[in-house]
Amino acid sequence: MTIMIDTGNYIAAKAAVMAKPDVVPAYPITPQTTLVEGIANYVGTGEFKGEYICVESEHSAMCACIGASAAGSRTFTGTSSHGLLLMHEMLHWAALARLPVVMCNINRVVGPGWNIWTDENDSISQRDTGWIQFYCSSNQEIFDTVIQAFKLAEHKNVGLPVMISYNAFILSHTSMPVEIPEQQVVDDFLGKYVPQWKLDVDNPITFGNIIGPSDYYKVRRAMQDAQDNAKKLIPQIAKEWKQKSGFYHGDLLELYKCNDAEYILLAMGAIGAESKVAIDEMQKKGIKIGLARVRTFRPFPTEEILKLGKQADLIVIDRNISIGLEGALFTEVKAALYGKSDAKVHGFIAGLGGKDVPYTDVETICKKAIDGKAKEYEWYGLEEA
């Protein structure tokens, strides 16, 4: 084990290279750039022995991931914001083709106007592509989740691509100490990649030709089953990694001081990390509040959230907006409770466009909800200059 003090992107690059992908097609975009540069550096040092393809667009990056994965190779890439949106068609394709591509997405604002700071609309808008979606809150979690993502994606009961999202600059460009295990630990944990299907000259199949409604319907159902399987496997894989590495960041949710809580805050990504400080501060003041940081947006932790809704009133912070409705997490939390819980649920939009959300803001949000001064759903911090 060694300690590496580095940014989220370089940590992700380290994790990706230690997972030994065969092929990494990549295209640069701020703020993902240092991730792909990091991998390119490992090509230079000889630590990365696979093929690094400098493609001409993110769309082609995902196409090349699909081609390489279909040919039976472990693949990885990274992107952000407009890059992720350009990939959209091929995100569906990778998931429908049941290819275990692993990708980091650095959550960045979508233009216009150009803004390279963080919010989560880029990945939230890819919700229905079939990808498993993780949201990280520290560089250690980025490292551990990238490693675990390969195991999950490649599991015979899953066979779906995995996206690991983390916030632009707050994590991507912020150095933190991260414990890096020995290569052997990662090798033992992941094992050799055994593809579920591949392009094989000795077993020629045609993949993705015309398919009738009845068969296609089954394909969709199989994807849903795979996400359901992932729901069960994510906690198992997290615990297995904990045994090997000592690190554990939660399952589908990370629960923080939720015992006896009368209020539970739900948030994702960096706001989730910031919220821990806010919870500590509020508990010092005698407020019975805990935190459930949502780590997986797909599969969605419906049962786990319902459990929280039977214990406490819920406060949801979304760093995204489904224009015309509300924050995506807020909607889905309410759906999880529907008809089965009487909990009050408050939804707040915060931090869009990369607007800072320090723990003091999280505290203000929670208090407003607890004091009964908040509407069911509102935008926090709009009035500020």
Binding site: V23, V55, A64, N209
Partner: protein, 301 residues
């Protein structure tokens, strides 16, 4: 190689869903004969996705990956890289796309793969239309041709994809035609013997798309070459060689046939003949072909 000496193996199985007289299927048969079973084919949205027939069946006895319309070259890049890492360096990776997927929506991915030096063979079967979607205009559709989106005839001339490909200075590019299987087969084998990106474009006259009778596919292809509307050439390391009748036309050893001899058999040009003959647009077609040949002669004679 004489036709009788071609490999007897067939990798197109019974039950193909192609139209009668389909030029793409004729070309695919030659591709499979040339490369045998140690190949992988990447196919974007195009007629070939239909020719493969309906899941769970297939009419292709080689591994095929279908991919999105604009994605053939990028998908093939990934396949090629993966096979290389796996040590399967002798497997031929082929991207097989129509003119829509090559000239138009797929041109970025193609250019990227050519520039990167991807070791694959990109084959464009050019039927001068979006045929799978039901005969719409593409960048390869000739001037004055009817399509469902150029109802009175196309008002622009087609682009020269071969010129665009040659500007990448790849080790090998070629144009051929389904009517000359010996020429196509030789070019396929030649491409296979060269490392790096290779591009072959094959003229593929489409009976329902061009509105001619299905038994005339080969004849329409031959006429495309004899009128000079299509050129047989190969370009190895930037050295151009014209082949067959195209060589004779280039060197003015034969005169190309008038365009009228070719287009009069094609319903897509029917409006140039009925109710009255549109000599102006027929002449414009002729002039355009002359211009192309003058450019060739300036550069390559």
């Amino acid at each position: 190689m004489a036709i009788k000496d071609l490999p007897v193996e067939e990798y197109i199985l019974q039950g193909s869903a192609a139209c009668p007289g389909c030029p793409a299927t004729m070309a695919l048969r030659m591709v499979f004969k040339a490369f045998g079973k140690n190949m992988v084919m990447v196919v974007p949205a195009c007629c070939t996705a239909v020719i493969e027939s309906l899941y769970p069946n297939t009419s292709f006895n080689i591994p095929v990956m279908n991919i999105a319309f604009e994605a053939a070259a990028a998908g093939a890049s990934g396949v090629e890289a993966a096979l290389r890492v796996q040590g399967k360096k002798d497997t031929t990776v082929v991207a097989w796309a129509g003119d829509g997927g090559t000239y138009d929506i797929g041109i970025q991915a193609l250019s990227g793969a050519l520039e990167r030096g991807t070791n694959f063979i990109y084959i464009c079967y050019n039927n001068q239309i979006y045929s799978n979607t039901g005969i719409q205009r593409s960048g390869a559709t000739p001037y004055a041709a009817w399509t469902t989106t150029t109802v009175g005839g196309k008002t622009e001339f087609r682009k020269e994809m071969g010129d665009i490909v040659r500007a990448h200075h790849i080790p090998y590019s070629a144009q051929t035609c389904i009517s000359y299987p010996d020429d196509f087969y030789r070019k396929l084998k030649k491409a296979q013997s060269i490392k790096g990106p290779k591009y072959i474009e094959i003229m593929a006259p489409c009976p329902p798309g061009w509105r001619f009778s299905m038994e005339k596919t080969v004849e329409m292809g031959r006429m495309a070459v004899e009128t000079g509307a299509w050129t047989l050439y190969e370009c190895e390391n930037d050295v151009m060689t014209f082949n067959g009748k195209s060589k004779l036309i280039l060197e003015k050893k034969i005169q190309r046939k008038p365009m009228e001899d070719w287009i009069k058999y094609q319903g897509r040009f029917g409006h140039l003949f009925k109710p009255t003959k549109d000599t102006k647009r027929i002449q414009a077609l002729e002039d355009h072909i002359d211009l192309i040949w003058e450019r060739y002669r300036e550069c390559y004679l």
